[in-house]
């Protein structure tokens, strides 16, 4: 990565890098360190600072059925929304990439949902899928109680999955289309000359060449489902009914800021950090070995 020509002026270089380094130290490294400190200590009930408690906070969390409930819900949410958003995004990207008439217009409009803030999408879906008004409430007239995410946990889960995936279909579509369009035309044409029909080319050529993008998106989708879901949950189900949609970040927020259990929230943050780092690490490992086809 080194350049042959460079400037020799260490004080200036430090001054240039200083603003960002300071910000990163203050708002990234210090908080991450503080999370570690809190996770291994416990505040005294009558003041006097924190005492070191070792793995006690983690033991408390792992022994808490509510935590495991939250883990389970998060996994269901992550897998379902990723699967849904990836499948639809892939179908749409393959369809647009065929460049039929009007594909530019489709490409333009299919990206729009990604612009919407998660809480706004959440509020819109809360209304559209509400049991009293909106789009499917009329089903409840014919079949009373058929759809009610306010009392039915799994329907509430479905509601947040739909609202969240709606946004991420657009995201996946965008990246998959960019990936498809970076495959050289000559490769596709060569396959066509060999008599491969479009579906065969999609399956045997485009999908395999797209694996790096797909893998990248899987990791980002899973990570974002932990991170970006807060706004949706807070505006639709608020973790309910009966904690059926209490995802991990939502629980951290509640334990930390409503329950004022900093140590418990910090320990949960650490576990989530490890999870996210592991996912990112897998991605980096894979990106290093990724296929180059240009």
């Amino acid at each position: 990565m080194d350049k042959r020509a460079w400037f020799r002026n260490t004080p200036l270089a430090l001054a240039l890098a200083a603003p960002q380094l300071l910000l990163v130290l203050l708002f990234f490294y210090w908080p991450s360190g503080a999370a570690l400190y809190w996770a291994f200590t416990l505040e005294q009930p009558w003041g006097g600072g924190n005492v070191f408690v070792g793995l006690e906070n983690f033991r408390t969390i792992f022994g808490d059925p509510l935590y495991w409930n939250s883990v389970g819900r998060s996994v269901v949410f992550a897998l379902a929304s990723t699967l849904l958003a990836m499948t639809l995004g892939m179908l749409l990207a393959l369809a647009v990439d065929r460049r039929l008439k009007g594909h530019a217009g489709f490409r333009w409009a299919l990206i729009w949902p990604y612009a919407i803030a998660a809480p706004a999408a959440g509020l819109a879906f809360r209304f559209l899928l509400s049991p009293e008004a909106g789009m499917i409430a009329y089903l409840n007239h014919s079949f009373p109680g058929l759809w009610n995410p306010i009392v039915n946990g799994w329907q509430a889960m479905l509601l947040i999955i739909l609202a969240y995936s709606w946004k991420y279909v657009a995201y996946n579509f965008l990246f998959l289309l960019a990936g498809l369009q970076s495959i050289p035309k000559s490769v596709i044409e060569a396959a066509a000359m060999d008599g491969a029909r479009p579906l065969r080319r999609m399956w045997d050529l485009q999908l395999p060449l797209l694996t790096p993008t797909i893998f990248f998106l899987l990791v980002v989708n899973l990570t974002d489902s932990f991170v970006d879901s807060f706004g949706i949950v807070d505006l639709t189900t608020e973790g309910g009914p009966n904690k059926a949609t209490e995802l991990l970040v939502y629980k951290i927020y509640f334990d930390g800021f409503k329950g004022l259990d900093y140590s418990g929230a910090a320990a949960q943050s650490i576990i989530l950090m490890i999870l996210v780092i592991a996912l990112t690490f897998i991605q980096f490992r894979f990106v290093e070995r990724r296929i180059h086809y240009s």
Partner: protein
Amino acid sequence: MIERTPILDIVTQLILLLGLVIALVPLWLVVVAASLNLQEVNTSPLPLLPGSHLIENLVSVWQRGDLGWKLFNSMLVATLVAAGKVFIAALTAFAIVFFRWPLRMLAFWAIFVTLMLPLEVRIVPTYAVAANALGPLQTILEVTGLARLWQLATGVELALEWNLLNSYTGLVLPLVATATGTFLYRQYFLTIPDELVEAARMDGAGPLRFFRDILLPLSRTNMAALATIMFLYAWNQYLWPLLVTTDRANYGTAVMQLRQLIPSMFSEPEWNIAMAGTLIVMAPPLLVVMLMQRWFVRGLVATEK
């Protein structure tokens, strides 16, 4: 390449139409719901064509949610985040690519690692830093004993405090403290030919002059892409503004205000007002994506990969 695939073409068009329906129908229904009156909005299924109360509902939610001020806050924060990011990331990448200095690689990795942990997973301790941004320095001084020394020397107890809660600084700075952008600039700077640097130096240009007159103009496309994507990112923030502002009347952002629009169980379900608010809050980022899609796509693909 000419191929006749009539059946597949029909299937393709159907998939595209279905995708369009999924993408746009919720948006359309928000517009429709925002244009109905209280009674109409609570009939199910919703009418598919807008009613006549759009302006009335928009005005009502604008006043009730104090959206003028909230939108101004969002605009200010998003612009500051975008500008700050574009500028600071460029400076850092410049220092890392075009200079040789000790610990250069360490600085690069220290910044790069921050890509791994989004703000949301370290939200509780970041909040503590925002409550007193000088707290870390205070702790360092106490642990190293310098605080005691200060007390002995001056007789005044050292208590540094800089509270970022309920301030634009608090809303903006933590969002700027990420590696997004630095990496983008770095990748781009690495493709700039060495000859350009050599020529500039031969002409007597110092590093700052080279940065201002050559590097920045060359990076214009990257800056536009980065600014677009950071603007959307900041505009759509929810959890951080929620925590860092308790004085919602003065420092609340537009997206936070959506929470106030959820109809409560004990009053009339004014979904028309709620959807009018949703429409206003989602309009600016939507316009950015509609009108500046080239920059948006470029920024997204470039910053995330």
